[in-house]
């Protein structure tokens, strides 16, 4: 039976207050944090694993792991940064388990125009048609292109463009240097641009 007791808590409680209560064993306080962040965690999970069922399972696993390891959270970073780090690690583990993970090197190679041809041919749309694309269709095209990026590139773009995190926060989540973050964002946008050639002018 679901426990709706988190609803009875003060709505203006900060993360720090809720975390302190949760650390003391207050599961309802933790429930508030879960309901506050589960969509964001799901979005990142979905970005990495690209499967709704897996992403939902993964998001739940993130919060279970967070609860079990709450004592280790020292509050040095934002709570969602910590959650995102767990999500990223579990997501990459999930892909590895299913042999769907390919790490991106720092000095990766942007595929040439020729090698992109089959992908692009699916996406190329006349400029005129582009103008008439419904916003939802455009979203779907962008999402399809995103799906073709590596998990690391997808993640870095989502953390930057959707969550508007700075490079240092992204580096903490992805456990890499800010230089690597910069490189990944650069290459990810370049890849995306190639994949969306013809879709957007």
């Amino acid at each position: 039976m679901p426990d709706p007791s988190y609803k009875e808590m003060q709505p203006d409680e900060t993360d720090a207050q809720l975390i302190a209560k949760a650390k003391a064993g207050d599961q309802a306080a933790f429930g508030r944090l879960v309901t506050q962040y589960y969509q964001r965690v799901f979005h990142l999970a979905m970005t990495i694993v690209r499967n709704e069922t897996d992403a939902l399972d993964l998001a739940q696993e993130v919060f279970v792991k967070a609860w079990l390891n709450l004592a280790k959270f020292e509050g040095k970073s934002a709570f969602f940064t910590w959650l995102y780090r767990i999500t990223h690690n579990l997501g990459i583990d999930h892909l590895r388990k299913h042999n769907r993970y390919a790490m991106v090197d720092f000095d990766e190679i942007i595929p040439s125009e020729e090698s992109d041809a089959p992908v692009e041919s699916q996406l190329v749309v006349q400029a005129k048609q582009t103008e008439s694309l419904e916003k939802e269709e455009l979203r779907n095209r962008i999402d399809e292109a995103m799906a073709k990026l590596s998990p690391e590139h997808r993640t870095v773009l989502v953390l930057r463009e959707f969550d508007e995190l700075d490079y240092q926060e992204i580096a903490k989540i992805m456990e890499c240097s800010t230089g690597t973050v910069m490189s990944r964002i650069y290459y990810a946008r370049k890849h995306l641009k190639k994949l969306l050639k013809g879709v957007v002018s």
Partner: protein, 168 residues
């Protein structure tokens, strides 16, 4: 790869230091390639922010939390189970260790005398006879306080008591 080109992402995201930012801005004014890279980075950023899909689950907060709660309960039960098993082993260990030590002591007390059995007899090495063909081996039992003198090579009995005079 031109280092400045790689930095265009950070430039667009305003994640460079002020020195780098001014430098890239200045160079890009006269470098079409760099300017083009900046444009790509800006365009893709804007596109994702304006038209990127934010995936959302249909699961309601209540449902999602209830699922998480169930999993937490399961994990905690597993953890408790594991802990209690470990505790039992630890307790058993605590009891078995002294019991084993006592057993070891008992065995030592019982078996050591057997191991020392040979040490209860002292062989007298210096014993000799005046006759070459007669040998003597005196053995003293410390336990019973008896000394046995083993003589070989006698032609007849009783032995000449003088033979034993030299035995120490």
């Amino acid at each position: 790869m031109n280092k400045e080109i790689l930095k265009t992402a950070a430039y667009v995201d305003q994640q460079t230091g002020s020195v780098d930012h001014k430098f890239i801005k200045r160079v890009s004014e006269n470098d079409p390639e760099l300017a083009s890279e900046i444009k790509i980075q800006e365009d893709m950023s804007k596109l994702l922010r304006s038209s990127g899909k934010r995936h959302q689950t249909d699961a309601t907060p209540e449902f999602f939390w209830s699922q998480v709660q169930k999993q937490i309960a399961g994990e905690e039960a597993r953890k408790r189970n594991r802990f209690s098993k470990e505790s039992i082993l630890r307790v058993l260990g605590l009891y078995w260790a002294p019991a084993f030590a006592i057993l070891l002591v008992v065995c030592s007390v019982m078996l050591l005398p057997e191991f020392n059995h040979s040490q209860r007899y002292a062989k007298v090495l210096d014993a000799r006879t005046s006759l070459d063909k007669v040998s003597v081996t005196p053995i003293q039992s410390k336990k019973s306080g008896v000394t046995v003198i083993w003589i070989e090579g006698l032609d007849y009995l009783p032995a000449n008591p003088d033979i034993l005079k030299d035995a120490s």
